[in-house]
Structures are given as C-alpha cells and as structure tokens.
Amino acid sequence: MADSERMKTSLPKCPTGILGLDEITEGGLPKGRPTLVCGGPGCGKTLLAMSFVVNGAIHYDEPGVFMAFEESAEELIQNMASLGWDLEELIKRKKLMIDHIHVEPSQIEETGEYDLEGLFIRLAHAVESTGAKRIALDTLEALFSGFTNTFILRAEFRRLFRWLKSKGLTAVITAERGERGITRHGLEEYVSDCVILLDHRLSDQVATRFLQVSKYRGSGHGTNEYPFLISKEGISVLPITSVALDHKVSVERVSTGIPRLDSMLGGKGYYRGSTVLVSGTAGTGKTSVAVHFIDAACRRGERCLYFAFEESPSQILRNMRSIGIDLQAWVKEGLLKFRAARATLYGLEMQLEAMREVVLEFEPRVIVVDPISNLVAVGAESDVKSMLTRLIDWLKTRGITSLFTDLTYHGGPQEATEVRISSLMDTWILLKMLEEKGERNRALYILKSRGMAHSNQIREFLITEKGIELLDVYLGPGGVLTGSARYVQEAREKAEALALRQEIERKERELERKRKAMEAQITTLKARFEAEEEELIKIINEAKEREESLAKGRKEMARLRQAD
C-alpha cells in the first residue's frame, strides 16, 4: 500500500512496541535520535521509557540500557515484574542493563572545575557491554538537584545529546513537566526531534492519562491527545486505528431477529459491521430487542459477546426465557459469552481496554453493550464520546456489528440526551412508552438508519412469551393508537367490516330473490302462453279439418254433377 512506500522514504523509525503509539507516530520514534517524554509525576514516564527499552530487547532484537536516576534497579525489576516482564532474565542474557545513578545532593561538595565524564564513562560502559541500540535516561533532570553549577551542567547536556547521536542510539529522555516551559529545566532545548507529552487529569472523579506527540521533526504524526492506559499488559494507547476513518463497509445485511422490524429496515435488517443504538426509558424493552438480535446471530452460527453492565447474566438468561428466547443453549454451544461488570468500578479507559481484551480473545461478530448509559455515567461527556468513537472505529475495522442500549430518563429530553453518542450510530431505534387513556404501551420507531430506506411509522409492540411482536398500525385522530385504544379501534374496524359484509350478503340475497321473482313470472307467462297455444292449435286444426271436408264435399258434388 501507499503507507509502506511512504515508510521507506521517510526517516527511519524505531518501533516502541507500545500498543497504539507506533500507529500515532507512524512507525515509532526517530531512529538514532533522542526523544523527550515529558509529564508530571505519576504519568507513566518511567513505564513508557522502560517499555521502549524492554520491547526493543524482547521483540526487535535491540538490546537496551536503562539509566535510572530515580529508582534503583531492584525497585524497577520489582515494579516491572507486575507487568510480566522478567528483567533479571534479560539482564542475565545481556539484553538489558539497568544502571542506577544515585544523585544525593547532601553528600556532594563542589569546588572548582569539573565535568560529567564519569556519567559518560558509565553510559559508554553500559552501551558497550550490551551492544545497546536503545537507551532510556529516567530522568536526567535529577542531575539538577545534584549539581549546582548549571553552566557546566548545560554544557554537559549538549555534549551528552551529541554523544547519543554519534553512537546512533535511539534514546528516550524523560523529564518533569515545567510550569513555564515544556520541561522544568528546559531540556527541550537539547532534544528537538520528537517530544511526547504525558498528562494525568481528573475529571468527574475519573482519572485519565493522556499522551500527545507534540512534535516530531520530519514525520507525520497524530496530533491529538490520546488517552492511554496502564494495564497489566503495560501501556496501551487506544485505539489502534483511531487516526483514520478508512474501514471497509459491508453491504451484507443481518436480521434484527424480529421479522417485522427487518421489514421496517428496508426488509433486511441492519448492515453488518454497523452500530445500532436502542434507546428508551426504563422498561421499554431495550434488552429484549438486543437479545433478539443475539438470538438471530447465534442461529446463524455467529459468536456474540454480551457486555452486561446492569443485570447479571443469570438474570438476563432467566428474563429472556420468559419471552421465549433460550440464551442458555447458545452459551452452552459457546456462541454466546457474557461479560458482566459494574461500569463504575473502573475508569473509562480501563473499561475500554478490558472490553478490547475480551473482544480480541473471543473474536465475536456481534457485540451488545447493555446499557451504554452506565459507561456514559462514568466519564465526562467529551471523554465518553472520544472513548466511544475509538471503540466504535475499532469495532468497525473488525467488521463487528455492535448494538448499544441506552437508558434515557423519563421526563428529560428523550432524544437530546443521547445526542452526544447518537452521531456515532448508524441505526437508531427509539423505544417509547406511550401514555394514553390511563395506559402505558410500548412503541418503537426508527429514528435513523443510514444507507437504507426505512419505515417512518411508529409501531406498537408487545413483549409476549414468544418474543417481541410488532403490531399493525391503527391510526386514530390523535395519532397511533395503542393498547386498549388500539383494541377498541381494532374491534370497531372489525364490526364495520362485519356490517359491510352483512350488507353485501343482504344485497346479494335481494338480487337472488328478484331473479327468482322474475323467473317465476317468466314461468307463469310461459304456462299461459302454452295453454293459449294449445287452444289455438286445436281451433286451427278444427278449421283445417272443416276446410278439408268442405273441399272434399265440393269435389264429390262435382263428380256427382259430372261437371267436366
């Protein structure tokens, strides 16, 4: 692809092996150059630097040196063991060297000229003994507390960065965030090839770490602030493909599991790989709609993943059995998997990472998040949106069809509340309680559905023991009729139809009767005619006989007179 061509021509990169960071930097850190990683305490600077070095040693066959100015080698080994890294093993195999440089200001008295040749010798020794290609200096600024002569220090820094470059080392230098400059001691003055900023912010009681590539000389890079996580697998910047909107779209359609809802969606259901939002107030049947979709997917033999953030899986299984859907069977067959957790237990990013891990592991074709509102509750609006955007982008690139339910609150602006996430959704089905004549009835309509002709009708539906059943539409003077109003209307319409049928039958009977009357008349006329005809024929015959006998008489008379 064009991407790989561009990689070759642009400056050589050194992959960090950190999930997501290599995508943001289009391949990694600048090879053979120093990169400044800067952030406040607790941002993950040390971990990022260590990940870079260790990943190099493990995955890219590039040994590395970690110069620790703050923590001892033992502490680092212990800390990193929690991420599953066996640093001691790497050190034994000469793939890694950790050199702890301890700067204790109180021990040091300065008098006269000096330089930091000792540091250089240690660096050179470490680099040469491991054949290191990567080096991390964490954090160089500790030197400022150990040496008061900043003039010498700055001159030595300049020399240090020259030295790193001359050795062809790809270096990560960490630094504390400064109040005025990028770093507290202006290290950015020396490292100008690549600058990565880390931040750790608390909003709405949820702490999120952010990473931003603020500068990358000679290379394109994502410029946003990307949230990142420190999980048991180390740092991951999420998601992997958030930089581009280039996923392939499918024209394949998948059934919603509710035949009449399929008809409403252009006759075929959702698009594969699209996102569906089912929103509604409490008790409108969101979970039921979601479960129908899952049931249909399992029937097709597709794996489904159900994130239950509100109900426990056993509760869902029981409830759905009551509407005639046996999810237990799919669970047994291994097609359906539940992941239940209280969304509020984790931070937003943690949640996302946890979801991502399960999706990678189970590889479902369909996922359901029920309800997404519980996730939304965890974070600030903008964070939620950015997290969901990235989750959805990521799911779309994997062609996973996702259905999210969203609990909205009664009385609130029913449609406005979800606006923040609705723009990410391809299909939005709204479930509503219609209150009319002392009843609450369920109704459903499609608010939007991208890329297909869809019904604009508000449809009443029932949740029966055979699942969701969409009903025919009855329009009353005030709109769609539901519940008993619909029933009354239905009955009225039935009565009207019956009356009409009876009317027709009546007319038909009348017609028959008239035909019969006419036919009777015909019969009498015919009978009368026949009688008259008989009489007349008789008279005619008598006349003919008379005429004959007269002629006979005349002939006899003539013969007797012998006239001729």
Binding site: V103, E109, E110, T111, Y114, D115, G118, R122, A124, L143
Partner: protein, 108 residues
Amino acid sequence: MEGKTEKNPPSESELEEAECFQLTLYVAGQTPNSIKAFANLKRICEENLKGKYQIEVIDLLENPQLARGDQILAVPTLVRKLPPPVKKIIGDLSNTERVLIGLELRPK
C-alpha cells in the same frame, strides 16, 4: 545516626581516635582538571592531615565499572571513605576552604 558527627566538627581528640583518612580520587584520564585536583589534594592533605591519610587514584577510563560502586558522575570526584560518613567533593579542589569543609576538617 551519624548526624552528630556530621553537624559538629570533630575535636582534636576525636580525630586522633579516628582511623586515618582514606581518600579516593576518581579521574578520567590525565586531564588538566584531574592533574590539578590531585595536586590540590596532595597539598591540602600534607598541610592538614600529615601522616593520617591514604590517597587512591582511580582512572575510570581504565576501570569504567568502578564508577558504579561509588556513584561517580562528575570527575574529578574525591570520595572520603573513612572516617564515616562517606563524603564526596567534586571539582578540581581549587578552593581549599571548601575542600576542608567537605572533609569536615573545618566547621561549616
């Protein structure tokens, strides 16, 4: 801890009791700074610690791994290993007063 000896300069009698000064000078090759430092150190010791000191000079260019043990970053660095506590003085030792303070031979 040893805060007491650190804060109060040791009296003459304490110095007598203490073992002799073990001093290590770390250098990196024969640079002007290291030559100057060694000369300054020699002179200060002769003037203040005559007969009670040992000087070891370590060239890190020859033994780079030794930089790790004493946490040497700057050169020249003078390390007072004995008497405790360990003290470090960096630079060419051109300021005699500061060296004496560093070696705890003068009150601060």
